[in-house]
């Protein structure tokens, strides 16, 4: 049946619904494109035939193939757009340098670097001369400093005014919130709520 491969692509994305990015399904996409090509060829020949010989009976099948082509196109663009949105979310989640296991699945490196650049130039244009980092503090923070506990040995960590803190396992620190967010996401520090 037509358009089944395209639905497969969509289902694959739908299965990993929590924002993870599966590998780019080149095979599936190629098959869909081949199907579209085949349909188009058939349609071309039928249209020529219908025009030249005036056989109106071919028109429904032409219409059917046309609808299938449109559907395939829609599915493929949805697939690509959804992947784009997920890659964009990665930038907001992990910062501008992606960890290795995430980068493995991506193939749209170029798009990602373009996006990074435009986001950076936007951020620089805000807030006067210095720019404003809008990827920090996504929720309004309750306090300037938070208490964090170190879950593994991370070595030395420098904060804004140059002081170096030694992050040893099971030590607790009271640090500015914005410096800790990265490390909390990476799992090195744990926010202690008391």
């Amino acid at each position: 049946m037509f358009c089944e491969k395209a639905i497969e692509l969509i289902r694959e994305l739908h299965r990993m619904s929590d924002g993870q990015l599966p590998a780019f399904n080149e095979d599936g996409l190629r098959q869909v494109l081949q199907e579209m090509e085949a349909l188009y060829e058939q349609n071309q020949s039928d249209v020529n035939e219908a025009k030249s010989e005036g056989r109106a009976k071919l028109i429904p099948s032409i219409k059917l193939r046309h609808c299938c082509l449109l559907r395939n196109q829609r599915c493929v663009t949805a697939y690509l757009y959804d992947r784009l949105l997920r890659i964009r979310a990665l930038r907001w989640e992990y910062g501008s340098v992606l960890p290795a296991n995430v980068r493995f699945h991506m193939c749209a490196e170029e798009w990602f670097s373009q996006y990074k650049k435009s986001l950076a130039s936007f951020m620089r244009s805000l807030g006067g001369n210095e720019g404003l980092d809008i990827t920090q503090d996504m929720k309004p923070p309750k306090s300037l400093y938070i208490e964090v506990r170190c879950l593994k040995d991370h070595g030395e960590f420098e904060i804004d005014d140059g002081t170096v803190i030694l992050l040893k396992k099971n030590s607790q620190h009271f640090l500015p919130r914005w410096k800790c967010e990265q490390l909390i996401r990476q799992g090195v520090l744990e926010h202690v709520v008391s």
């Binding site: 170096v164 040893k168 396992k169 099971n170 030590s171 009271f174 640090l175």
Partner: protein
């Protein structure tokens, strides 16, 4: 030097700085640490908290952090040794020490620049005066200066002066020798006994009160710190009662708002109340029978390791009219009619059986409908968490768990601590019973000695200092002075704990610390004096017998 005004000389000094908190592993220190953390959160003072379990860890932590931090706060460690010599800090490191260990080392007292002691100058400190211990070096210089002057004068005069100079020199040397002998004596008397002072948690609560930033949570932690000192027998009864009175003033000040009917607080708010409650450990979270069976006080009074004792216990329960079935149930499910007058009934009956102090002044907290705890419950639970002998957890993991259990939002951690504490108490009771019944306690001259072998059940539990100390005190109740050794299989070492003689009016001064040191020196046994309490050491198993011999000769 002692700090006069804790707000000006400590808090305002660290107000805009980064601080390292080095905390010892006992409950009082944990409570003090929580109070200080809460204060620092209020004022956004950045800090780093490092738990330290002994002198070596203290040294390591200091080395790691000395480049980046100038201010160090030591909680319940560091006052009783010469800190500057041990750590060799740079000139700009400043140490704030809040420690209950006494005697405070004289160098720490008289150092004006780097060591600040957050300790009240109580009457019982009795630090020797400066002139008795430290002598200006200038006098030596004068001596030699005079001699060289005299040497350059012409020989005729010199002969006449020489006799006078020699006499004076001899006089000076004799005075110096006398002074040194007296100094040694004074220092020996001063450092002979080890004891404990006011709780660190209470010190920091006072700081919070002076800053008017005290909350009920901090008050509760201060109470727990004080109760820890009492549970582990670190302070005398008199001091405990005095400190309870101080805390009672704070409690009534905080409870002032609950007075009227109309504006009563929600049930979820924390309420601290003064209780004249029973001395049965964990009785509200256990069954009454188990609690009586496993509490130190009742078990020793009844002598529950004998058959006779158990019969007496049954009589006691019958005397009070408590049916056995009720008493063996969980306390919360006992009949209300029994629970109502329980304390008075028990007090009456226990007077008949010779237990005059079955009730003790303490505090309880309750918040929410289910959560009611006495201060001693919290102490036992947190102590059990701090020293739980799980294989996977390191000591700092336990420290973190115990620290968490003190927050009100971690009630399940507290409950797991209570469960562990119950196991620990049962283990202590059984070990005591077996030790006494199988005559494992040997008399070694001036002290009694008990050695727990490798295969004893729960021996892993007792390889931690606090549990071991509790066990010893339990054993001690009807006997006199005591030491105790437990085998720590992994390291091939033995942990030895020394407990002072037990009496009604004992002032809890422990001489075993110095005795251990001298014995170790004289026999050159391989010992590790790593714990902050000098009466707890680790000793190589092979050296055990000669160490004990030395100890016997020393103390007799």
């Amino acid at each position: 030097m002692f700090i006069a005004d804790i707000r000006k000389d400590f808090y305002e000094v660290v107000a805009n700085q980064r601080v390292v908190l080095l905390v010892a592993p006992d409950i009082d220190a944990l409570c003090a640490c929580k109070i200080l953390q809460a204060l620092f959160h209020c004022d956004q003072i950045q800090y780093t908290l490092v738990p330290v379990t002994g002198w070596q860890e203290l040294g390591t932590a200091f080395l790691e952090h000395k480049e980046q931090f100038r201010y160090f706060v030591l909680i319940n460690c560091g006052a009783n040794v010469d800190l500057l010599e041990m750590l060799q800090p740079d000139d700009d490191s400043i140490f704030f020490i809040c420690d209950t260990h006494r005697p405070v080392d004289v160098v720490n007292v008289y150092n004006d620049t780097q060591i600040k002691l957050l300790i009240k100058q109580d009457d019982d400190l009795s630090v020797p005066s400066y002139d008795d211990i430290f002598r200006d070096e200038d006098e030596e210089g004068e001596d030699s200066g005079n001699e060289s002057d005299e040497g350059s004068e012409p020989s005729g005069k010199r002969r006449r002066f020489d006799e006078g100079a020699v006499e004076r020199r001899i006089e000076r040397q004799r005075a110096k020798r006398e002074w040194e002998a007296r100094r040694r004596e004074i220092l020996f008397d001063y450092e002979q006994y080890e004891y404990h002072g006011t709780s660190a948690a209470m010190m920091f609560f006072e700081l919070a009160w002076v800053l008017t930033k005290d909350t009920k949570d901090m008050l509760w932690w201060a109470i727990i710190g004080l109760t820890d000192q009492w549970v582990h027998d670190k302070i005398t009864n008199m001091k405990y009662v005095t400190d309870i009175a101080t805390m009672q003033r704070h409690v009534s000040r905080h409870n002032h708002r609950n007075e009227d009917e109309e504006n009563s607080l929600s049930i979820d708010c924390m309420r601290i109340s003064f209780e004249y409650d029973l001395r049965l450990t964990l009785y509200q979270h256990w069954s009454l029978y188990e609690s009586i069976y496993n509490s130190c006080y009742t078990s020793c009074s009844f002598k529950l390791w004998t058959l006779n004792g158990q019969k007496k216990l049954q009589e006691f329960l019958a005397d009070m009219g408590l049916p056995l079935k009720q008493v063996r149930q969980k306390f919360n499910s006992m009949d209300m009619s029994i629970k109502e007058n329980l304390r008075d009934v028990i007090e009456e009956s226990s007077n008949k059986y010779g237990m005059k102090d079955i009730r003790i002044q303490t505090f309880g907290v309750h918040f929410g409908f289910k959560n009611r705890f006495l201060a001693s419950d919290m102490v036992h639970a947190t102590a059990a968490l701090l020293e739980s002998a799980e294989k996977d957890d390191s000591e700092t993991d336990n420290f973190i768990k115990a620290l968490d259990a003190l927050s009100r939002s971690n009630i399940d951690r507290l409950h797991s601590g209570i469960a562990l504490a119950k196991k620990k108490l049962i283990a202590i009771q059984q070990t005591v019973a077996s030790c006494i019944c199988t005559n494992l306690i040997l008399s070694q001259g001036p002290f009694l000695y008990c050695y727990l072998m490798e295969g004893t059940p729960d021996v892993k539990l007792f390889s931690k200092p606090m549990a071991l100390t509790l066990l010893c005190k339990y054993l001690l109740k009807s006997l006199c002075s005591f030491t105790h050794g437990v085998l720590d299989v992994e390291k091939g070492t033995v942990i030895v704990v020394g407990i002072p003689p037990e009496s009604e009016t004992s002032d809890k001064k422990n001489f075993f610390g110095r005795a251990f040191e001298k014995a170790a020196e004289s026999t050159s046994s391989r010992t590790l004096h790593d714990h902050f309490d000098t009466s707890i050491i680790e000793l190589k198993t092979e050296d055990r017998s000669k160490f004990l011999d030395a100890l016997i000769t020393l103390l007799s």
